[in-house]
Amino acid sequence: MSNQPMGNQTNIWPLWEVFVRSSRGLSHVHAGSLHAPDAEMALRNARDLYTRRNEGVSIWVVPSEAITASDPDAKGSFFESPQGKDYRHATYYTKSEGVKHL
C-alpha cells in the first residue's frame, strides 16, 4: 500500500494540524500534526493519536498548507517593537482619584 499513490501527484498523504480542546480547557490547543488522506480520516487519526488518555472533548483538524505562519527570521521587527511601549499596559497609567475597585 505504501507505494500506492493515494492522491493525484504524490504518494504521501497530506499533512494536517491538530487542535484539541481538553475537558477542562476553554479553547482548542495545538496538539501536533499527522498525515491523513482527507479531513474525515484526519479527525479519526487525531482521535487515535492525541486523545488516547481521555485528553479531549473536541478536535479540530486544519490542512497544514492552509496555515500562514510568521517568519521566524523576522522575529525582531515582528515581536520586539512593543518593547518599551509601556503605555500599552494598564499599569502605565496612574489611578485617578476616586476610582474604586481597581
Binding site: M1, S2, Q4, P5, W13, R24, L34, H35, A36, P37, D38, E40, M41, R44, N45, R47, D48, L49, R52, R53, N54, E55
Partner: protein, 293 residues
C-alpha cells in the same frame, strides 16, 4: 445466573463511579475512566454457570484471535497513522477478550492467562473469520467491516443480557466496536469508491472474506441453553445484511455471491491458520511458565 438478589450478593454488580479506585481522580491526573476492568471481574464473588462461561469464552476467543491478527499490522501499516489505528483497535479487542476470558475462567478456577496461553487449537471457540490472515490492507478492512458491524449489533443486544457481568462488559465494548465499525466503513468507502486498483482489491477482499460470514449467525444448543444471558445470532442477520448492503452500495461494491465455508469454530474445529497464530501468541508463555514482566 439465576441467583435472586440478596443483600450480600446483589445480582447486578456495582459498576458505579464509586466502586473503583479511579473514582478519586484528581485535577492533575487524567482519569482512565470508570469502566469495568478485568481486574474487577477477577475479584467478583459471582461465578457464571458452565453454560454462561462457555458463552463468554466464545466472545472472548473471537476478540482475542482478531486482536492477535491485527497486531501483525504493527510496523507494517500503509502509514504510521494507520499503523496506530489498527494497533488501537487490536488493543480494544484484547481488552474485551481479557474481560470475557477472566469471567469465563471464574467458573473453572482459571485465569485469563490460563485460557489464552494454555489451551490448544481445538479448545478455542472463535469463528473462522477471526483467524483469517490479514492479506493486503483491503482484506483486513473487509474482515473488519464484517466483524465490527456484527459485534456492534451483538453488543448492543448483550447490554440487556440477563447476566450482569456480560451486560457490563458489552456496554464498555459497544463504544469501542462502534468506533471500529466507523473505521472500517470509512475505509470501505474510500477503497471501494477510490481508484480502479483500490476498487478491484476491495471487491476481491470481500469475495475472500464472505464465505466466513454465515458462521457468525449460526444458532446452536449452547445459545439456546444460555437463553436471556446471550443473543441468538440468527436474530442479528437482517440488520447486518441491511447495514452491509447500504455501505457496499455507497462504496460502489457488489455483495459477493459465494458459497459459505463449513465453519465449526464454535465446536473447536478450525482452519489451518489458527494453529500458527496460537503458536506465535503462546510460545513465550509456554517457554517460560509463570514469567511476569
Amino acid at each position: 445466573m439465576n441467583a435472586a438478589p440478596t443483600p450480600s450478593h446483589p445480582a447486578r454488580t456495582d459498576h458505579s463511579l464509586d466502586s473503583f479506585g479511579d473514582a478519586a481522580a484528581s485535577a492533575t491526573r487524567v482519569t482512565p475512566g470508570n469502566a469495568l476492568r478485568p481486574e474487577d471481574i477477577a475479584i467478583q464473588t459471582e461465578r457464571p454457570s458452565d453454560d454462561v462461561a462457555q458463552y463468554a469464552l466464545r466472545l472472548g476467543d473471537d476478540s482475542l484471535v482478531l486482536a492477535q491478527r491485527l497486531g501483525e499490522w504493527i510496523s507494517r501499516g500503509p502509514e504510521i497513522e494507520e499503523d496506530i489505528a489498527l494497533g488501537n483497535i487490536a488493543l480494544d479487542l484484547l481488552g474485551h477478550a481479557r474481560s470475557f476470558l477472566t469471567y469465563a475462567g471464574h467458573a473453572w478456577g482459571k485465569s485469563e492467562d490460563d485460557l489464552a496461553y494454555w489451551r490448544d487449537e481445538e479448545e478455542f471457540r472463535s469463528a473462522w473469520i477471526f483467524e483469517q490472515p490479514n492479506g493486503d490492507f483491503g482484506v483486513t478492512i473487509a474482515r473488519q467491516l464484517v466483524v465490527a458491524v456484527y459485534q456492534c449489533l451483538l453488543y448492543a443486544r448483550l447490554v440487556g443480557s440477563a447476566d450482569s457481568t456480560i451486560a457490563a462488559i458489552s456496554a464498555k465494548a459497544l463504544k469501542e466496536v462502534d468506533y471500529h465499525r466507523d473505521h472500517a466503513i470509512q475505509w470501505t468507502l474510500r477503497l471501494g469508491d477510490g481508484t480502479d486498483e483500490s476498487h478491484r482489491r476491495m471487491q476481491a477482499a470481500l469475495e475472500l472474506m464472505w464465505p466466513y460470514v454465515d458462521e457468525l449467525f449460526d444458532d446452536d444448543e449452547l445459545v439456546e441453553r444460555v437463553g436471556e444471558a446471550g443473543v441468538r445470532p440468527s436474530t442479528l442477520r437482517a440488520e447486518f445484511d441491511a447495514e452491509i448492503a447500504a455501505v457496499l452500495d455507497e462504496a460502489t461494491l457488489t455483495l459477493p455471491a459465494v458459497p459459505r465455508a463449513r465453519g465449526g469454530g464454535r465446536r473447536g474445529e478450525h482452519t489451518e491458520h489458527l494453529g500458527y497464530l496460537l503458536a506465535e501468541m503462546q510460545v513465550l508463555a509456554r517457554k517460560h511458565p509463570g514469567a511476569t514482566w
